[in-house]
Amino acid sequence: MSVTVRIPTILRTYADGASELTVDPATQTVAGVIDALDAKAPGIGARILDDGGSLRRFVHVYIDDEDVRFLSGLDTATPERTVVSVVPAVAGG
């Protein structure tokens, strides 16, 4: 079951410049999606998760328009056709 992941500009270097990637996670959760994403775009996982495997505090993962932090975090389910967005802090002005 495939899930679309929106890649923010600052992380597109890991994804050959792609603005979105479609992944087929082994488990249908946010953690599974990040795993599958890292397999397609090596290195991107470490920008989203810290060394302990938790979401970094300056990066958000949204399921549709909802922050997974306020759902079930990395265990949040990602059914077919979910759109997952990665939204990192940027400071440019």
Partner: protein, 404 residues
Amino acid sequence: MTTLAPTATALPPVVEPADSLSVDEVRRYSRHLIIPDVGMSGQKRLKNARVLCIGAGGLGSPALMYLAAAGVGTLGILEFDTVDESNLQRQIIHGQSDVGRSKAESARDSIREINPYVNVVVHDERLASSNALRVLAGYDLIVDGTDNFATRYLVNDAGVLLGKPYVWGSIYRFEGQASVFWAEHGPCYRCLYPDPPPPGMVPSCAEGGVLGVLCASIGSIQVTEAIKLLTGIGQPLVGTLVVYDALALEYRRLKVRKDPNCAVCGDRPTVTELIDYELFCGAISTEAADAARDSTISVVQLDQWLTERERGERDFVLIDVREPGEYEIVAIPGSVLIPKGRFLDGTALGELPTDRQVVLYCKGGVRSAEALAVVKGAGYADAVHVGGGVVAWVTQIEPDKPTD
């Protein structure tokens, strides 16, 4: 991403209306006055409003110009920088003849030309924990046009402590974000991003670039929100993050919730006064600082080393760790390019010579210090980096070259 109907409700106007508009003001603002939602009362509120714009750069330029044109009565400009030629690609409040001038003064002059009825207050200073509360206290609303995390956390915290709405925007390359943080009515910036990224992980516009017109896309959202808040019309972006992608020409609305554990606006705040934001955001990582200690050479020294290398008296490889676009504009002669990211992910290490000393540089010395930490960690004990980077090189060695 689905587009949602706005969930936030209208908030009461931030300011009371001024007593009256002059005949000239009525003529000037007629296109506002005939919009029923704005009308005489909304325009009088704008006249009475005091808005502080922090930064007169990329976002501050369009923001200040439209706030001025809209008739905001008092506009504060907080900016300490001077106009550089590389600003003019996007900082449209400044012109060619302003290069070298104070940005605050240049912006003030442009505003006077756009609308002489605006009272402009120039704060030609750097925002710091020591002056933020004093400066922000004189305003009804804050528009953020800064370019670094430390100032953004500082403005947020000061805004929360003073109860001021904070209209926030941020840009990078083709992508922007905007929101309104107002702890009395919704989340603050720390609710959204509790901690800043470690230094060096997120590139700035100076490193990664920015499409000039993106400043207008995000700056105009900020002004729209400011006007809505000041006059009490529409649904403000409180509790909503807008993410704009110029390449897809798409706006997405994402929910931002108030975090009960927020350090500054939560139930049990731990930040009850302004802190040291440079320390909080870490200007340079400890690893980089450690690596650079006793392993930093000056541009004068580098110049001498390059001469010695030409004579065959010295051998080393000079590596520029900036991005290709920056390297194209200006570089130190005799250097090769390996961007910093390739040191951080380890792929650059295989390309380094083992029989020669490694010398690293970047724009100002921060990125090269981070790369130096990696190189030294890989066993290159005699590796060094160039303090002050290419900016110092141009200033001291080759003044005819551009700096960025």
